[in-house]
């Protein structure tokens, strides 16, 4: 829903910072990955020079929704800038304050966020998930164009989970802290929803089109694989995390075998039941 743009009726001053946000976004639209995940395109300029008073609707609703959008954009920018300081300060309000400083804002701007660093972690996780989705989208396009082979499911899952886990490598020292923040009660709804949508994305690009109970089983299994691999990665000290990738390989193989085993169990079960029925008929 596009909201209408009206200049806010500030009597004496226009916004000091948000205009700069809209100015900067005019330039590097193409390459930077930050822009790709800022969901609002740069044409939502909140603060163009007001050309005289606009006579029509400037109700609080319209004004607020316009400001709300650009406030969010600014918050995203601050959090993205803050990621750089996470290795040093951890996932904390201090990292956010440092991030705000690099954007030319006062350190007090960190007061816009929770003091426990929750928003920073959630922002990062959401960013990684978006990057993963783009990566998988690109690979799918290559397969569709015939430029790449379609991977078998096992390989696909392994590569997707590995790609996603590799995004944690720059922050691996402080990742345990991030995990504990994600498990705080007030964050669980958000973190759970991010996790499930990521797993859902992976299965979607793996070509899963199931509409039966398999849908749930597949997602539960992959969630288990992802979480356990993440935990193994926390305490992995091998070069380039080889142990983690080997662990991942084994778990995915187990999951595939489990699928086969389930089928075998079912057919064996059917055979046993038939045998018993036959025996019962024979006896009686």
């Amino acid at each position: 829903v596009r909201c209408q743009l009206f200049p806010p009726q500030r009597p004496l001053q226009a916004s000091a910072v948000l205009r700069r946000v809209s100015d900067e976004q005019k330039e590097p639209l193409a390459s930077s990955s930050q822009q790709q995940f800022d969901s609002h395109p740069a044409d939502h300029h909140p603060e163009q020079e007001p050309q005289g008073p606009r006579p029509s609707y400037t109700g609080q609703g319209g004004q607020e929704s316009e400001d709300y959008e650009s406030e969010e954009q600014l918050q995203h920018r601050i959090l993205t800038a803050a990621l750089e300081f996470v290795p040093e300060h951890g996932w904390t309000a201090e990292a956010i304050a440092e991030g705000a400083k690099t954007l030319g804002l006062s350190v007090a701007a960190a007061g816009m966020f929770h003091s426990d660093g929750s928003e920073l972690v959630l922002h990062f996780v959401s960013h990684c998930n978006t990057k993963l989705a783009e990566l998988l989208e690109k690979e799918q396009k290559l397969v569709q164009l015939g430029e790449a082979e379609k991977k078998p499911t096992e390989q696909f899952l392994r590569d997707a989970v590995e790609a996603r886990l590799r995004m944690l490598i720059p922050y691996i020292e402080k990742w345990p802290q991030a995990l504990s923040i994600l498990l705080l009660p007030h964050n669980i709804p958000s973190s759970l929803s991010l996790l499930t949508s990521m797993i859902d994305d992976i299965w979607h690009y793996a070509g899963d089109q199931s509409t039966d109970f398999n849908w749930y089983t597949r997602r539960a299994v992959l969630t288990g694989i992802y979480n356990t691999s993440e935990l193994v990665m926390m305490q992995d000290s091998s070069p380039d995390f080889e142990d983690t990738w080997r662990f991942l390989e084994n778990r995915v193989a187990d999951a595939m075998n489990m699928g086969n085993a389930a089928n075998q169990v079912q057919s064996t079960g059917e055979a046993v039941v038939q045998g018993l029925m036959g025996a019962a008929v024979t006896v009686s």
């Binding site: 916004s15 910072v17 948000l18 400001d67 600014l74 304050a97 030319g104 007090a108 007061g111």
Partner: protein, 310 residues
């Protein structure tokens, strides 16, 4: 005291009309009218009267605060500084900060954050060279506040005098300055401060809109506005008890402890005259602040309003 039962609806209607009147004839009338407690006075008269009120209560200000609020005002001020969560290096402007309560709390908070930071740093550096160790000792000595500073600004000389004496008595010297100034016209340049606070002061300002505009002006981009002030209680039962306490007990306390019934009568009336939470939020937004929000303390007896210069 019995005759001063506040007919709030009538009076807020009147004050609304008065404000509109003031706005429209500003610059034309010689003496725009406003309120002093429940009286009607001109703006100049109001400023003089308020100056006299605080001149006379200055010496007993802290004692009266403790007895009127049963010491709870200390908790409110602690909550304000906790909400601010200042990091070392923050520049604070505390307006109408007279006796320094917020300033001292700010200094304590920043000191303890700084100490914690230095401890963390030392913990992580397992293998320090002698050079690094000696440097860290030097840093400790000179930067216990980490470059944080607080400027206390007040319009009233007596209140500042009491504040300076308190600072000396409690041993606060570093990072603290005292400036005489009017909240409607601050003696500072633009874009100077990280945080602007005004605790229990803004209802005494005659032109609140000017004070908010000045706050916006002197804050850096990204800076934060925090206001701690008495506000509107919604709960009807509590509101009745609160009115009873305010109008029957507080002026009596004022007479007994400070020998000044009238000043505390004014105090209580001025609380009733101050706009409610939502209206004040709108005023702050009008001055240009974003992400304006408020937090009620004690069911609305006190509220903290916060806004950012974005």
């Amino acid at each position: 005291a019995a005759g001063l039962c506040p007919c709030r609806a009538l009076l807020t209607g009147r004050s609304g009309a008065l404000r509109a009147f003031c706005g429209s004839v500003r610059g034309l009338a010689a003496a725009p009218e406003t309120h002093f407690g429940f009286q009607t006075v001109t703006e100049e008269e109001r400023r003089e009267k308020i100056y006299k009120v605080f001149e006379s209560v200055a010496k007993k200000y802290d004692v009266m605060n403790d007895s009127m609020t049963l010491g709870i005002h200390r908790v409110w001020k602690d909550i304000l500084v906790h909400k601010m969560n200042p990091s070392p290096g923050t520049l604070l402007l505390d307006v109408a900060g007279g006796t320094g309560d917020i300033a001292f709390r700010f200094i304590n908070y920043v000191r303890s954050v700084r100490k914690h930071q230095l401890q963390q740093k030392l913990k992580h550096h397992q293998n320090l060279s002698w050079q690094e160790i000696s440097e860290s000792y030097q840093e400790d000595k000179s930067k216990s506040l980490g470059d944080s500073q607080v400027v206390v600004c007040d319009i009233n000389k007596e209140m500042l005098k009491v504040g300076k004496q308190k600072a000396q008595h409690l041993g606060y010297s570093e990072g603290l300055s005292w400036v005489l100034g009017n909240a409607e016209e601050l003696p500072f340049d633009d874009d100077q401060f990280d945080v602007y606070t005004i605790a229990f002061g803004i209802r005494n300002v005659t032109r609140i809109d000017l004070a908010l505009q000045e706050a916006y002006r002197v804050l850096k981009p990204g800076g934060r506005f925090l206001c701690l002030e008495f506000s509107h209680v919604n709960n009807p039962l509590l509101s009745r008890l609160y009115d009873l306490y305010s109008f029957q007990v507080i002026p009596v306390l004022g007479e007994v402890i400070a020998g000044d019934w009238k000043s505390y009568q004014y105090l209580v009336e001025s609380i009733r005259r101050f706009p409610a939470q939502e209206e004040f939020t709108a005023m702050i937004e009008d001055a240009g602040f974003f992400k304006v929000d408020y937090q009620n303390l004690n069911w609305g007896i006190v509220a903290i309003h916060s806004g950012f210069k974005l």
